[in-house]
């Protein structure tokens, strides 16, 4: 197991290196001098030259690349010119807000999606099951930015229950904090909720008719434990896969959600930086998100072992997928 984890961590390195290369290539695809683009049309030739020098853009491409990789490896992300602060500080300032939003959305998704899927599987072909299928299909098909707008329209504009934008502050009390959090969390939670529900239902249906579930019943276990202990633990593996996928696509969803609700996380920062044409920030934020994605997937892979003792890990190349 320890060997496996070490192997997987070593495996992450080439992936992250490729991520860095891809991002480097994308940002250098920019037509013309990035410095000129960043400074905008009003900039003078001297200003552009100064910035070109500062960003090392006058060096040959391969030197630029090695500088960039070298800085990355040292954790030196550089400074943002438009925000006037080190990029690492920007991340530290914004990332916790994204985590708050993502975690509460994830909690909603698990607490609603998983039980709904279990109930739908238990009551297969009932009215609940049909309603469930309809809602979960709508959920996975939902353009979340539109859902966000509809939530604002209904709960903020019409009912006035929750604020439409911004992040509450704990100084104003927990109520203020939560009321700001509710709408964006629901918007971000919709797709994962529907996905969890669908996958839980289908894998529970597969498991529920297995012999060992019958065995559990014949022992005299309460139906609740039969389903939630014996059946559910067997249905967990596909759920974990979807969990990993959803966490990473939530990082993408956060960009849209944060934009709609002006939630000050890294998603909003990226869009903001694109508007300001601060590509250094964009580049580093995207790499940071990729790093989180890779780490989350590693954790998911490791947790497979915890729920399914039959999986054997080879410490050699490749994972279990």
């Amino acid at each position: 197991m320890g060997k496996y984890i070490l192997g997987r961590i070593l495996n992450m390195i080439p992936t992250l290196l490729i991520v860095a290369v891809i991002i480097f290539l994308i940002t250098r695809m920019l037509p013309g001098n990035p410095a000129a683009v960043m400074l905008g049309p009003q900039a003078s030739a001297e200003e552009i030259e100064v910035l070109t020098e500062k960003l090392g853009l006058n060096e040959p491409l391969y030197i630029q690349f090695f500088d960039y990789i070298g800085n990355l490896l040292q954790g030196n992300l550089g400074n943002s010119l438009t925000y006037n602060m080190p990029i690492i500080d920007l991340i530290m300032e914004r990332f916790p807000n994204t985590v708050i939003l993502a975690v509460s959305a994830l909690l909603i998704a698990i607490l609603v999606g998983v039980p709904a899927g279990i109930i739908a599987a238990r009551k297969q072909n009932s009215i609940f099951d049909y309603a469930f299928t309809t809602f979960s299909l709508m959920g996975v098909s939902m353009p979340i930015f539109w859902l966000g707008i509809m939530l604002v329209l209904f709960f903020s504009v019409n009912l006035g229950w929750f604020p439409a934008t911004g992040m509450g502050s704990m100084d104003e009390g927990i109520g203020d904090f939560i009321s700001h959090l509710i709408l964006p969390s629901i918007a971000l939670a919709t797709i994962p909720t529907a996905q969890f529900a669908r996958i839980t239902r289908s894998s529970m249906l597969e498991v529920i008719s297995q012999d060992y579930v019958k065995t559990a019943r014949s022992k005299g276990l309460h139906e609740f434990f039969v389903i939630c202990k014996h059946a559910f633990k067997n249905a967990l593996t596909p759920l974990l896969t979807v969990l990993g996928l959803q966490i990473s696509s939530m990082l993408g969803g956060a960009v849209l959600t944060e934009t709609i609700f002006s939630w000050p996380g890294i998603g909003l920062l990226i869009i903001d930086a694109i508007g300001k044409r601060d590509f250094v920030v964009v580049q580093n934020m995207v790499i940071f998100i990729a790093l989180i994605y890779v780490v989350v997937n590693l954790l998911v892979d490791i947790s497979y072992k915890l729920v399914n003792p039959r999986i054997k890990y080879s410490s050699g190349k490749g994972g279990t997928k």
Binding site: V19, L30, P143, F145, W146, I149, M250, V282, I289, K317
Partner: protein, 294 residues
Amino acid sequence: MAESQAILQASDVVETNERSLFKKLIRNRFAAFGLFIMLLLILTAIFAPILATHSPDKMNVTKTLLGIGAEGHLLGTDNYGRDIFSRLVYGARISILVGLGAVLFGAVIGSLLGVIAGYFGGKFDSIIMRIMDGLSAFPFILLAITLMSVLGQGLLNVIIAIGIGNIPGFARVVRGQVLSVKQSEYIEVTRSLGAKHGRIIFHHVLPNSIAPLIVYATMSIAGAIISEASLSFLGLGVQPPTASWGSMLQDGKNFLVLNPHMATIPGLAILITVVGINLFGDGLRDALDPKMKV
């Protein structure tokens, strides 16, 4: 030539499967409904100039923010006085173009890479799949956003940006198929008969990968349509004033109090379209192979 006969028979099987596939799809009410929505969308896109009651981009400062049905505007007008219904109809074109274009882009490049990786294996395989891992280490939409921020607005750029994100998925699906087809006997036979690599790939390996590929492509179209709308919503999509459902939503967002249907209608159009495609895709998967998981 018993071998070539066996291969001929194999292709016969594929054809009869296709015929009964259509029947199966029609019999599945949900899939038929999905197909209906997709056809409706395609017809709307093709006949947009006939269906549209106004020019989609024509502004009229005297008739801004009209309500539904007011002054001959079926769904009212937006903040520039443009006819919402006509923009919706033309927006279907963008959705279809990007949906099909981006998936085709991803499918062609991804399948090619998948075939190379799966068929030749070894170094090709590990290098290609590593790059695919790298590409899919971003949330799909974030990759598209980053690309668009560099490429700049425009229909072709949107197709490319979303298409690139589609490459790894297709590469994986095709690679998996190639690996399983490669094991099967008749490929061995063909190879022993001295067939060239290219011939084996295009005549035997790819046709056998087609079923899961079609299902995957259908599901991907739904994702691509949502991605396009997201990009346009963020102002990183098609060039204004081109009507896209995403950009219509962005315009509508600022008039929620005055004219809520401006934001409601394009979103509903996206939702219905994506639900339709997903229903069709589910039906297609069930009809082709109930055990297949994409």
